[in-house]
């Protein structure tokens, strides 16, 4: 039998893989892209030490953000704390760059944008939009503070459009993959469930078929005798045979939707024996029954056999789910008190005699 992968677990695995991919993308960008630009333009900065400090702050923000997203979707406060630190560091680094050369020497905007994507990826899309808008405003603010160099401004607008577009696209792509992973996991789950249902149905079908074949040997000859007139319906023996076959047919029809369970099958087997003796046996269940361990089952079926052997013409067996266990009861026309086997293995047996009718209950407690 296959084990069903819980849907959340399966789609969770895909989501984690996408998250890891984004972590690598952001870390790679900051180390290689931003770090490379920082070292390359080392002589041009007013204070290289300050730029390095901001680069480190950004690296810390990315590390914190990565830890957050690898532990699940971050909450509002931690996600935005990281985003705001990244934005503040990039704005400070840009403001400290020499005016008029920002396009060439600024390393920080890209890293800040990707950090925002990293922590806001699985939060509402509008949050990421707000962050990217705030970053665009910060870029513009620094430009205005620097005195609006026309060439710089044009270049920055182009870079901004490109990078914001790329960041939004990555975020949208991951979301689409999340949805697809969820659907794939859902489909896999329903396929597994269908397969298990089919397997169970096959077991039940086979069991019913076997019983149907058994009926061919017992009910069909009786019907044939009745039709041929060799069996007389006025004869008490024939009437009992008819009652027994009718009970077995009824049970066959009623068993259609039962899940096979060991105790149920063992009680059926005991009932079969009694039926051959001419006792009409009914078996009914109420509620979803717990699995009963082997030793306790033996105590219950021993009681069943004792009672069914003593039954004269009819018996009813019921199995009911009760608080923390199962109550198996027997009502049969035994005529007199039946000595029952000893209780034990967590099974308590009680009985009551009313005239010729015996009631007995074997109650198994899981605790």
């Amino acid at each position: 039998m296959t084990t069903v992968q819980p849907r959340a677990l399966m789609s969770g695995r895909y989501q984690r893989a996408f998250t890891i991919a984004v972590v690598f993308l952001v870390a790679g960008w900051h180390l290689a892209g931003a770090g490379g630009q920082l070292l390359h333009n080392r002589p041009d900065y007013t204070s290289f030490a300050f730029q390095c400090a901001m680069w480190l702050v950004m690296a810390l923000a990315i590390t914190a953000g990565s830890v957050l997203v690898l532990r699940g979707t971050p909450g509002w406060l931690p996600a935005w704390s990281v985003a705001v630190v990244a934005l503040a560091a990039s704005t400070a680094a840009a403001a400290a760059s020499p005016a008029g050369q920002m396009l060439a020497v600024n390393w920080s905007w890209g890293s800040a944008g990707w950090t925002g994507v990293l922590v806001l990826l699985r939060r509402r899309f509008t949050e990421l939009a707000w962050f990217l808008a705030a970053e665009a405003l910060a870029v513009l603010g620094v430009q205005v503070w620097d005195g609006l160099h026309r060439t710089d401004l044009a270049g920055f607008l182009a870079v901004l459009a490109w990078s914001t577009g790329a960041q939004a696209a990555v975020a949208a792509g991951v979301r689409a993959l999340d949805v697809a992973a969820g659907q794939a996991a859902g489909a896999a789950r329903s396929e597994n469930a269908a397969r298990e249902r089919a397997a169970t149905a096959e077991v039940i079908r086979a069991a019913r078929h076997a019983r149907w074949l058994a009926l061919q040997e017992s009910a069909v000859p009786l019907v044939a005798e009745l039709a041929a007139g060799t069996a007389d319906p006025g004869d008490a023996q024939v009437r009992i045979r008819c009652a027994v076959q009718a009970a077995r047919l009824r049970r066959l029809l009623a068993e259609g939707d039962e899940v096979p369970g060991s105790l149920m099958h063992e009680l059926h087997a005991s009932a079969d024996v009694a039926e051959r003796r001419g006792v009409a046996v009914e078996i009914e269940t109420a509620g979803s029954l717990p699995q009963v361990p082997g030793p306790a089952r033996r105590v219950i079926t021993d009681a069943a056999i004792a009672i069914l052997t003593a039954a004269r013409s009819q018996a009813r067996i019921t199995m009911a789910a009760v608080a923390s266990g199962i109550a198996v009861s027997f009502v049969a026309d035994t005529g007199a008190v039946v000595p029952l086997p000893a209780a034990g293995e967590g099974v308590a047996i009680e009985q009551q005699q009313d005239g010729g009718i015996l009631w007995a209950e074997a109650r198994w407690n899981s605790r």
Binding site: G72, G75, E284, A286, A320, D354, W359
Partner: protein
Amino acid sequence: MEQPVTVAIIEDHPVVTEGVASWIRSDPGDRVRLVQTARDLTGLHAGPAPPADVVILDLELSGELVTTQIPDLVAAGYRVVAFSGHSDPAIVMETLDNGAHAYVSKDEGRDHLVEAVLAAAADRPYVTRSQARAILADQRPARPALSEQERQALLLWFQGMSKASVGRRMSISENTVRQYISRARAKYAATGRTAPSKDALLARAIEDGVIKPGEIMPYQSFARTQPIAPAWVPRAGE
């Protein structure tokens, strides 16, 4: 002598109709009079006026379950006793929820059908063993809260004891056993969808002293009986 209760049978197998008719005829007090038989619901509506007091309804007509038609029958003023080969607890529950007075499985017909019809005509509860089974198996969140005594009486009745034996077992009178079982049934009339038949059953139960108005709760309050398991797990960082 009281007027006999009039009954209509809706059943698509003539042999079953014939069997039910013979149970009605063999009632020693002639308390029930069969006034109409039909093979489907359209046949019933085409029948004579005034309509029968009680309809014995086979739940499967021409291969289709007709439990969803019960509210219409009830709205038309019939009291419905379902008579079916389906003893699946979910179907029994749906039948009662839709406003049927009682449910009798085909195995129980001989012993219980006429009595169930008479009880339905008087708007009194009638609980067969298959109905007790469905109540015991009920796990729906909106099920009514049953007392320990009601549950035990239902269990012993389902197991196959006579009501007198149930009384001996529980050290109470047979009458009290009937009261417990009827009260459990009446609680079900107070839950689920509304139907005039359920109101009538409940009103009669209050009148008969089976249940007090204060004991009728629309549904079980889980907060009172068991703690609610957390349905969500807080996410990291939240």
